[in-house]
Subunit: 288 residues, 2 copies
């Protein structure tokens, strides 16, 4: 392997804990491109990667499975399937489980990339939702009735029946949602996170869910401590009755999805090698 390293121009990897880029990057003087198989790149050691190396993510590769997982969490929470009981009176009178309508509701999606757009599409076409999007510049995106800038979050979050978080984790989104935002959500709102755990402030989420049992929260993503997603977290979030969690399995869990995602990364590298504009170039300034 050592003989090959000086020739390496493109590195493709999950680039997670199992393959420590910082150990190898110094032995690859000709490295020009790092292409990840993952959609998010928040786990990359940006400081250790020389500035002349381009970084391409695999954003969009998991849009469909992650968006349908988001909808599974939304519908399960809406119909009380996170705490099912077979006693109808209990089911209907309990704030934790009483069924809520989804068709025609107002859906707020934070992040309008591949996943957020697919969540909005399923809402609009399947459940006739009114869709509000949030992205950095407020730029319009298909399937959204309105799109607002991130700094307008506090005013739009109050209007939503369902809030879906599909943001990448970077310096603009880390800790974006805290008690101040969560306390503003409508009575009975459903909130799901399929982006990255650290977009929400862990302890503040726990406090608000405890004081507001009317909010139902579902997540597939968790908080990173010491470089690892901690599942379950030390904060006793998973013990709350208005909580539903899955262990980061929304994207890539099935073999066919992982294969398609890897092929998508390969095709992107092929675009680079043919001199065409590759997709998903990461702006390092978002992460430094």
């Amino acid at each position: 392997m050592i003989n090959v390293l000086p020739k390496v121009e493109v590195l493709m990897c999950w680039c997670g804990k199992d393959f420590d880029i910082t150990r190898w990057v110094g032995s690859m003087p000709n490295l020009r491109v790092i292409q990840t198989f993952s959609a998010g790149v928040d786990h990359l050691p940006f400081q250790a990667i020389p500035g002349n190396i381009k970084i391409y993510s695999n954003a969009g590769a998991y849009s469909e499975p992650v968006a349908e997982h988001a909808w599974a969490l939304i519908l399960a929470l809406a119909k009380g399937l996170h705490k099912p009981t077979l006693v109808a009176k209990e089911y209907l009178s309990n704030e934790i489980t009483s069924p809520r309508s989804v068709i025609g509701s107002t859906l707020l999606v934070l992040g309008t990339g591949g996943i957020g757009r697919e969540i909005a599409r399923i809402g609009k076409e399947g459940f006739r939702t009114y869709n509000i999007g949030i992205n950095r510049g407020g730029r319009p995106v298909d399937y959204f009735d309105e799109v607002h800038r991130t700094d307008e979050l506090k005013s739009v979050i109050q209007r939503a029946d369902i809030i879906a978080i599909a943001l990448p984790l970077n310096r603009y989104t880390r800790g974006l949602i805290g008690a101040g935002e969560l306390r503003l959500v409508k009575r009975g709102a459903i909130v799901v996170n399929v982006g990255r755990g650290d977009v929400i402030r862990e302890k503040e989420l726990y406090e608000v869910l405890k004081e507001r049992p009317d909010i139902r929260f579902g997540t597939d993503v968790w908080w990173v401590h010491d470089g690892r997603e901690e599942i379950p977290p030390s904060v006793p979030l998973t013990a709350l009755p208005n909580f539903l969690g899955t262990p980061h399995i929304a994207g890539g869990a099935q073999r066919d999805i992982a294969e398609r995602a890897i092929m998508r990364a390969v095709e992107n590298v092929a675009r680079y090698l043919r001199g065409e504009g590759p997709l998903n170039e990461v702006d390092r300034n978002d992460y430094l």
Copy 2:
């Protein structure tokens, strides 16, 4: 009340156990119409209702809430939310919970009335499903790519990834689905019932789910014993790991849905009183 009865021309009721039609119908010589608030009429004592009295159901009044409940069961089962674990390896390697893709799958809907059609619409528009329908005559219906006759069930049931049952209970559908049909379903199929419990043979369902843990089954409707839905049933269905149940709460649980359904029944009676053709006239021969 006694003075009023001889004048009654239209009777509107849920017509369930709480209001026994058989006790009152003899005192209403001018009764011409019974309009139910419920969509199904399988609970009516047809033998006791004189043949000159027309019966109108409220079919279609609950299509949206029941169809979105069906999709909540489908997605929850597809993503293993009926037995959530926070250990990713366990989640992914276990046949009971391993996530399955929904987008692009083949959906078989038994019953193409208001609810079945809405289940098909959500599938087609939201999740790009290929839709196969089953109705008595095989007549084409919107949002279905193919529709087959009930007697073709055994051949089409083998092709479906997801099977949704939205049939009324009548003499054509009672016990329609037994071990013979269930054993034919694809490995890993998801089956949900939001029609009536007795469309499936209770004990045979239990036997097949026990021998085929790859099948995931969800239901909101249950089996009637001595005139009452028995929840949970005496057969230990609800103890199976590949089972998810709700206590018949899909339609009408929320106040706004019940109000809309009652208004729909009132409008139908108004059509009758104006001499217009009312909707949803029940063919008694289906039930006798």
